[in-house]
């Protein structure tokens, strides 16, 4: 998981990618969205979504319920096909790609409503994420050729290593569905990391966690970024988490970006306060 140090840059989501502000001129973002939008029938769920994420940045996507945050994730991973706009991953256009191909381009994600392979063991869940780490083919599997053993051994070692991030090595033989809620969320992150992403999308990673678990998760997210040198974008309602670890925050309301910037900017932004708390009554 070593990355070229030259490409390690940081930038906050930029206001518009059409006119790239000066501070970002010489930096190549891992993800760039331009005028991204989707309509469901007559409903515009997301519109004119512009943002860019640096290669080792932790970015937050927040907004009231129904603002279209998860829709953005689904657009980025092509679970939905966007009606308008482009998504560039590492400078490559994702138009016409399938979800599978997006994963191969280096975007991994977790889901708001956990989508683990519940009937399979923890180990199998991670091994499925490591699918492409193994390169043996069908005959190699049927006849148990040396390539099979080598591939499986390396993958299993790697899986244990990845599970070690969350101290889950001892759970390898448990069924994923039998794990406690928090552990399921963590396993989903491990599975996503197993695909070797350069951008990790976390959809409400702290949902249903208690404060101490959340604090631990915050440390782990930062640690994952530091060890793997990847960008992380997360949707979260826990403001302590978002303000604590995100370097750039993007606020969405009714499918449109209403504010972008550092946590300090966002906290002071009147539009954000209005979206969350409502308008002050005119006296």
């Amino acid at each position: 998981m070593k990355r070229d140090p030259r490409t390690v840059t940081k930038l906050v989501p930029v206001p518009s990618t059409n006119i790239i502000p000066e501070r970002d001129v010489d930096k190549s973002p891992i993800l760039e969205c331009r005028h991204l939008g989707i309509d469901f029938g007559g409903l515009t769920a997301v519109d004119d979504f512009n943002m860019a994420i640096g290669r080792t940045e932790i970015a937050g996507l927040i907004g009231p319920n129904g603002a279209g945050k998860t829709t953005v994730f689904n657009l980025l991973t092509r679970v939905y096909q966007p009606t308008r706009g482009t998504v560039l991953v590492d400078g490559h256009d994702t138009a016409g790609k399938t979800t599978t191909q997006i994963s191969h381009m280096g975007i991994a994600r977790t889901f708001q409503n956990i989508r683990l392979f519940k009937e399979l063991t923890v180990m199998d869940n991670v091994l499925i994420g490591l699918h492409h780490e193994m390169d043996y083919r069908l005959p190699g599997a049927i006849f148990r050729l040396p390539g099979y053993w080598r591939g499986e051994r390396i993958a299993r070692d790697r899986a244990r290593e990845l599970l070690g991030i969350f101290d889950m090595q001892d759970m390898v033989d448990y069924k994923a569905g039998s794990l406690p809620y928090g552990a399921q969320r963590r396993l989903e992150i491990v599975r996503a990391l197993a695909t070797g992403p350069s951008l990790l999308l976390l959809d409400e990673p702290a949902a249903g966690m208690n404060p101490s678990e959340t604090a631990e998760l915050m440390d782990n997210i930062v640690r994952i970024r530091d060890t793997f040198q990847i960008a992380i974008m997360l949707i979260e309602h826990d403001m302590n988490l978002v303000m604590g670890i995100c370097e750039g925050i993007c606020v969405l309301n009714f499918g449109r970006i209403i504010a972008k910037g550092t946590p300090e900017d966002i906290q002071a932004n009147p539009a954000v306060i209005e979206a969350y708390l409502g308008k002050k009554k005119e006296a």
Binding site: S103, R109, L116, F117, E119, I128, H131, M134, L138, A192
Partner: protein
């Protein structure tokens, strides 16, 4: 901590144990047949059991492991049966079997089996690519339609380009009877082995991941279309082999054998045994074949029994007899050994005490 009591048998030894057990089972059954303990009538049923096991285990790949519901398994069986039979009739296989020259017949048999599997697999590919774009009920209907098309075509076509091939509704007769108990046994063992080996590899895990959660599978980079088709083709391939064995057992083929009810019969075996459990499929194929033989005297009433068994099963054990539990002789052996010898409990404590 819990696992300390379990002795892990190293991998090559495990394979050896399983191979030895399989050979022992074959030896025992052959001896019983030779000794006359298993009568001719029952050894014939053993062959039917074997064929049904292959059918159930192969359907289990598409139903239990992939999580789809194809209803045209008899169609693939028919394709394999006809492909194998036409080939066998074109070779001197019949003569060789009659003269008892098994060794010379062996290559022909192998080619016939592989050919029937490949042709059925090819049909699986042709059907699978469009059908697997659909899910659930839609897939069930499209495969049901395919199975019926095969049967109707076989009923109505008796010659291709002037060559008499399939003989239509009159049936394909005088097929060399290749399906000895040993051949069927080997086919069953190979089928189970191959499917097991595939399922315990990255390809098998990919197939399982589609059953568990297709969106999640896609999001971790599994090419779901590819693996769906792979599972489907594998399922059809072994159904084709079963068809060939079926033809080689009866010696004649009639399109009416491969009716929709045949597909349902196989599906019942899989559901009853537990979707996703190979041992379940094997057991329920065995039990259901024996029961339907015993109920032969009541004729079509056995379908009532089938339905009743299914209804009761769905009420009391919706996951099937064995659920998704898969059998491993060596695992049981490991547990037994661990229970007998218990390494590292008392001894380790003593050692720990001495060290202090």
């Amino acid at each position: 901590m819990m696992k300390q009591n379990r002795i892990r048998i190293p991998m090559p030894l495990r394979y050896l144990i399983n191979i030895l057990l399989t050979v022992a089972l074959w030896g025992a059954l052959t001896a019983l047949i030779a000794g006359g303990v298993i009568t001719n009538y029952w050894s014939g049923i053993l062959v039917t059991i074997g064929i049904n096991i292959i059918l159930a285990v192969s359907l289990n790949v598409a139903t239990g492991y992939l999580g789809q519901l194809p209803l045209g398994h008899a169609g693939f069986m028919a394709v394999g049966a006809y492909a194998g039979s036409i080939y066998m009739k074109a070779t001197p296989l019949g003569e060789l079997i009659r003269s008892g020259d098994t060794l010379a017949a062996l290559p022909y048999m192998l080619v016939a089996l592989v050919l029937s599997g490949v042709v059925a697999g090819l049909f699986g590919l042709i059907i699978g690519i469009p059908a697997l774009r659909l899910k659930g009920d839609y897939l069930a209907i499209i495969t049901l339609g395919f199975g019926e098309i095969i049967r109707v075509v076989l009923t109505n076509i008796d010659s291709v380009l002037g060559f008499k091939f399939t003989y239509g509704a009159a049936g394909l007769k005088q097929i060399p009877k290749i399906s000895s108990f040993t051949l069927v046994f080997i086919c069953v063992a190979v089928t189970c082995l191959v499917i097991h080996m595939v399922m315990k590899s990255r390809h098998g895990r990919a197939i399982l991941s589609i059953r568990e959660n297709e969106i999640a599978a896609e999001s971790v980079g599994i090419n779901t279309t590819y693996y769906k088709v792979m599972a489907f083709v594998m399922s059809a391939f072994f159904a084709g082999i079963a068809g060939c064995l079926y033809a080689g057992y009866l010696g004649s083929l009639f399109p009416s054998t491969f009716k929709f009810m045949k597909s349902i019969e196989i599906l019942v075996m899989v559901v009853l045994g537990g979707m996703g459990s190979m041992l379940g499929s094997v057991l329920s194929a065995t039990v259901l074949t024996v029961i339907s033989e015993l109920l032969r005297s009541v004729g079509d009433l056995r379908m009532v029994f089938y339905s009743l068994a299914l209804v009761l099963m769905m009420i009391f054990r919706p996951k099937g007899l064995l659920g998704s539990y898969d059998f491993s002789m060596s695992r049981i052996l490991e547990k037994a050994l661990g229970f007998l010898f218990r390494p590292g409990t008392r001894k380790a404590q003593k050692k720990g005490g001495a060290a202090k």
